[in-house]
Symmetry: C2
Subunit: 212 residues, 2 copies
């Protein structure tokens, strides 16, 4: 239904207003509260009132910073993407994108909130009318594109077999990652990173071109 632009943070640089809380601080507290609650309960089950309470402001105060619930979700997702953004410049090594995904799996084992937010989002956003639907579609196509394009480059350079089914491999690895995160949320003793590592290493063995 509605597209969610994250309200384009006012970003006013505190021009000598001595009274009251700094706006950016309050906004940030509200955003953190929203991330936490939406991660634990999902978007539908979380109310503006709950978020306001957790942030220590009134519901109306919250509305001032985020004019609607969907706008709040937009900011939450933008925040998530920022944390999860890839600081890795694409080095030219083979399987770089896949190795990166393995590292992300390891990182995620120390970011439970992020994994919960992601998983609950995936679970409720596949309906086209959900305010996070477009975010989810963009997320998948972007992740898959990085993996597929990376492998295409590797094939061009002759380090990966030319007959490797790029899309299928990429989709399998993403599926494995998503599914492991669900199980990890249930049982944190599961070593996502190790399991991803094993899977990716197996891919390298099967589809890699041995160095001559």
């Amino acid at each position: 239904m509605t597209t969610i632009d994250a309200h384009a943070a006012p970003e006013r640089r505190r021009r000598g207003r001595p009274r009251g809380q700094d706006s950016a601080v309050v906004r940030d507290a509200a955003l953190r509260a929203a991330v936490d609650l939406i991660a634990r309960q999902g978007y539908s089950a979380t109310s503006m009132t709950q978020v306001a309470e957790a942030a220590g402001i009134s519901p109306s105060g919250l509305v001032h910073h985020f004019p609607s619930k969907a706008a709040l979700l937009g900011a939450v997702l933008a925040h998530r993407d920022e944390i999860d953004s890839d600081p890795t410049e694409p080095d030219g090594r083979p399987w770089a994108a896949y190795d990166h995904l393995v590292r992300v799996a390891g990182l995620n084992m120390r970011r439970r909130g992020l994994v919960m937010l992601y998983t609950s989002m995936i679970g409720e956003a596949f309906g086209p009318e959900h305010p996070a639907h477009e975010w989810m579609m963009r997320h998948y196509s972007s992740v898959l594109e990085v993996l597929i394009e990376g492998m295409r480059a590797d094939q061009e350079r002759g380090v990966v077999r030319a007959d490797a089914p790029r899309e299928m491999i990429a989709r399998s690895v993403v599926a494995l990652m998503d599914g492991l995160q669900v199980q990890w949320l249930i049982d944190e003793s599961l070593d996502m990173e190790a399991m991803m590592r094993i899977h990716v290493d197996a891919l390298k063995t099967i589809w890699g071109v041995p160095r001559s």
Copy 2:
């Protein structure tokens, strides 16, 4: 919070009440409406009023059959488990449980509603206070147990290598299945069954004991 016993369907065998709709028929219509709506929107986003409307009865009529929203969800999940139940008697063939999972993947490609219901449930039920939390925990432990136990038997009979890491393999396959279902919901052209087949076949190659 609340445990959800599915209200133990009254099952009264229409003892000569000529007037009005048959109770079981109405109950069934309500259940179907609930399955459809909860699958598409998730549990939290679905209201009793919506379900009643879709079933063609009043909200109070719905409450008569399912005294609370949680009870309705309980019935929905029981219905799901029934449809999804495994009619396969455990034949003694190696990898039987894994082959079965591949077949289920193929079946699911013709049961979109079931996949949606499952996926949205997983996404919102990992919080311990969610009324479907226990269902989800039972689901995972049961699926994993079947796979792990099946492989243990195969190892005992010497058709699977004794050093195969049962739990890790089972968890990977379940994770792959769950993740593929999400992607399939987004793009139905994805062949879940084929991808599961390939993965399981690879497992057989790696961990199977070649016939002498």
